[in-house]
């Protein structure tokens, strides 16, 4: 547009500069608007986190973290819920991580683009979209009732694992695909089988990406309530679960219970529980972010 300035005798020469100045203004106002809208979107996130921490941190104590609830949960700690969420997350990982990574390897390294592969992709997209409460129903119907697992850590973990699967599959596949194809070609040309190539070159290079995906998937599982409502979660248990066939308390369900189901619940206990859950989730989130940037920094390609 600067070229227009040179034709000083034509009409445009007087019009163009002001026109372009106006466009600059529009752009400036527009960008400011975008910035403000984005701030509207993200400030509540910060406010929520700050609000929960400032109200809940005073409630945190050794006793709160490591003791059982007392007085109908109105005092004491939330130890069984913490332990339960820990076991559930671990159980979810045990099923969803190998299965999800295997599926991602299949999609990225083995599958050719045909009708079946397309069907798998559609199935994954659908799994990702199924409402969490429907997973709860499914877990109830299949694991709890049909397979007679009862409300148990096993049933809950399996339900959460299937729900987590799409997250793990898609992030892992993305990480695998990011590994340059030339590494595969070189490995094959040196007499590697497909599996050797995957194991020795592709997987190690994709590992940080895979870990990020796994952590983000498990983060979601750890915070979910609806899928565990009918498959594992217990309102109150006087002792810790002793096997995977026991029901357990869990942090998100506990938060739900004490904030809606128990009248006269001291507010600090509610916020304290929220802080613990939030810390759990944020830690996983930070872990994922750290792994990602660490891997990006030391990547050799």
């Amino acid at each position: 547009m600067t070229a227009g300035n040179n034709f000083s005798t034509t009409v445009e020469s007087r019009v163009l500069p002001s026109f372009s100045r106006r466009r600059k203004w529009i752009q400036r106002i527009g960008f400011t608007g975008l910035t403000l809208a984005t701030l509207v979107t993200v400030t509540p996130i910060l406010l929520i986190v700050i609000h929960i921490f400032s109200n809940g941190l005073p409630a945190i104590s050794w006793e709160f973290l490591f003791e059982f609830p007392r007085d109908g949960m109105r005092s004491g700690g939330i130890f069984p819920a913490i332990v339960g969420t820990f076991w559930l997350t671990l159980g979810t990982a045990a099923f969803s991580v190998p299965l999800g990574i295997g599926a991602a390897i299949y999609l990225s390294e083995y599958a050719t683009e045909n009708r079946w592969t397309r069907a798998i992709r559609i199935a994954i997209i659908n799994l990702a979209g199924i409402p969490s409460i429907v997973y709860g129903l499914f877990g109830l119907g299949l694991f709890v009732i049909f397979l007679r697992m009862g409300t148990s850590i096993l049933a809950g973990s399996l339900t959460l694992a299937i729900m987590t699967l799409p997250v793990i599959i898609s992030t892992t596949e993305e990480a695998l695909r990011a590994v340059p194809n030339s590494f595969r070609v070189v490995s094959i040309s040196l007499g590697g089988t497909r599996w050797q190539t995957i194991r020795r070159v592709v997987l190690p290079q994709a590992l940080p990406g895979i870990l990020t995906g796994v952590v983000l998937g498990l983060e979601r599982a750890a915070g979910e309530t609806a899928p565990i409502l009918f498959t594992v979660a217990a309102f109150y248990l006087a002792r810790l679960p002793s096997s995977i066939f026991d029901a357990t308390m869990a942090l998100p369900y506990h938060l739900f219970v004490i904030s809606t189901q128990v009248p006269g619940m001291p507010i600090q206990i509610q916020y304290g529980t929220a802080v613990v859950l939030l810390t759990f989730v944020l830690l996983m989130n930070i872990t994922a972010t750290v792994i990602r940037s660490w891997a990006r920094a030391r990547r050799q390609w």
Partner: protein
Amino acid sequence: MNAFNSDLNEPSPVPMEVKPRALNASMEIVLTDPKIIVEHLSISYSDGTESLKDIYLAIPKNAITVLFGPAGGGKSTLLRTINRLNDLADVVKVQGHVWLDGVDILSPEIDVIKLRRKVGIVFARPVVLPLTIRQNLTYGLELAGQKDRTIHADAVERSLKAAAIWDEVKDRLDEPAVSLSGGQQQRICLARSLVLEPEVILLDEPTSGLDPISTGKVEASLQTLKENYTIVLVPHSVQQAARVADYAAFFLGGELIEYTIGKQIFTNPLDSRTEDYVEGRFG
């Protein structure tokens, strides 16, 4: 377990007296004991175009055979067919045979893993694996199940020397291979394929990204290597072709136009198309 030197297939069902049925008119050399015979090879990719058209070519032992010609002529395609790396591409049609020591390596019964250990390849772009220099070199041995450290060490030294890079890297074998310069990386790649003691080495424009000094080093080591290996090279320029070729084949649009002794093809080509190309009139 010395898997990489054993035969690809037990007996040798090969008719060594295989006679080309439709010899290209300009084809001059008929070798008595070739290492590789490409017989009526045609290859099409999924886009439908025939990238190699009825190629007949005999490649001798202990010599550098150069495949040259303008882009898209099918040189890389032929090269990758010799160690079945083209299995990875979406090839839709393969006709004909490629005999290596009397075994048809295109037959489905062939053990491609062993074939690839016997026929090494170096690509245009140096691709070092994201490992240390040493790990890059021993990678092929590890794949073959060779765990003996002393064998590793010997193989590393021998092949680095053969690729003329031993002196430059001998003190930094445990550094990441990416820390080397492009020219060094390419010689690491050459050394890496030598570790497996192949019999044939395929090189696809191995010096295209290198400076003249590195190029000279690679060419010099090829001259030594040919004493023990069969070398098939796609050069990155006609000049390079003329410098190193013992035998040279000119490819144009998927066809083998002319195949003869290197000296002759660059000084006195038979086909006018070869002449045009060699003298820089097209391509």
